[in-house]
């Protein structure tokens, strides 16, 4: 039991627990808060894996921007709760069985068929630092980077168009 493993198990438990919390909360606001906890935990995993820049982005973009947007919409619509419904009651157990099946399959693959995965022991200097990520991004991935900027612009316009009220009604 190395300290590393202990840390991993501890964080993994938090991650799974917060995921399940998000899943089973009646109130959407709680779900959102559980998800934020989950994202922060994952950001810590990123740090452990040598992705400093990504970890910071994760906290800033996901836990910060995106989840705030979720909370904002939940508050705006006032639809934080939904009444109990009987539709598709039979789907729930089937879905749980399938999810367990999926996990079992993945673990089977990981531990019985891909167990020879050995990590690189010596990482390059400054692996995952903002400088190296920036270098790679602007050297090798310049075009996709620019395309994502267009994607964001399109998404922005789309969001505005979708939520705009028709002026002709008033």
């Amino acid at each position: 039991m190395t300290p590393e493993l202990i840390t991993f198990i501890f964080l993994a438990l938090i991650a799974v627990a917060s995921g399940l919390g998000m899943l089973f909360s009646r109130n959407a606001v709680y779900s959102a808060i559980y998800l934020i906890i989950n994202f922060v935990t994952v950001a810590v995993f990123y740090l452990l894996l040598g992705g400093a820049f990504i970890a910071v982005s994760q906290v800033a973009v996901y836990a910060g921007a995106i989840m705030v947007l979720f909370l904002f919409v939940i508050m705006l619509l006032g639809a934080d709760r939904l009444g109990e419904s009987k539709t598709l009651a039979w789907q729930r157990p089937l879905a749980i069985i399938l999810a367990i099946g999926l996990i079992a399959e993945t673990l089977f693959v990981l531990f019985f068929q891909a167990s020879d995965l050995v990590a690189v022991q010596t990482l390059p200097e400054g692996f995952g630092s903002p400088a190296s990520v920036g270098n790679t991004l602007f050297r090798e991935y310049l075009l996709p980077f620019e395309v994502t900027s267009v994607l964001l612009l399109v998404a922005m316009i789309g969001a505005i168009v979708l939520t705009r009220r028709e002026k002709t009604q008033s």
Binding site: V42, L49, Y62
Partner: protein
């Protein structure tokens, strides 16, 4: 350094939880959050493999996934707002006009 399989296994568990959320919840916003969780699970796997091979491309990919997720959330939430305006509800089960 832990074997990368641990991280990938965790990623699979989180993914399954996200998928389960999509399948069993009726609240459109929570379904959306579950989708975000699934994306995160995938990102975790990416970063784990990037560490495994000592290649930065995996992290760059996560960066792009985050961008796409941000765009997706912006449009998706706008859609939910628009649906709520017409249906006064965000229960996906009420949107079943495609029933055969």
């Amino acid at each position: 350094m832990l074997p990368v399989t641990y991280y990938v296994g965790l990623s699979a568990v989180l993914f399954a939880i996200g998928a389960l959320g999509v399948l069993i919840r009726r609240n459109a916003i929570i379904i959306f959050m579950s989708i975000e969780l699934m994306l995160n699970a995938a990102n975790l796997a990416f970063v784990a493999f990037a560490r495994e091979y000592g290649a930065l491309s995996g992290q760059i990919f996560v960066f792009f996934v985050m961008t796409v997720a941000a765009a997706e959330v912006a449009v998706g939430l706008a859609l939910i707002v628009a649906i709520f305006r017409t249906k006064q509800s965000i229960d996906v089960d009420q949107m079943s006009s495609l029933k055969g």
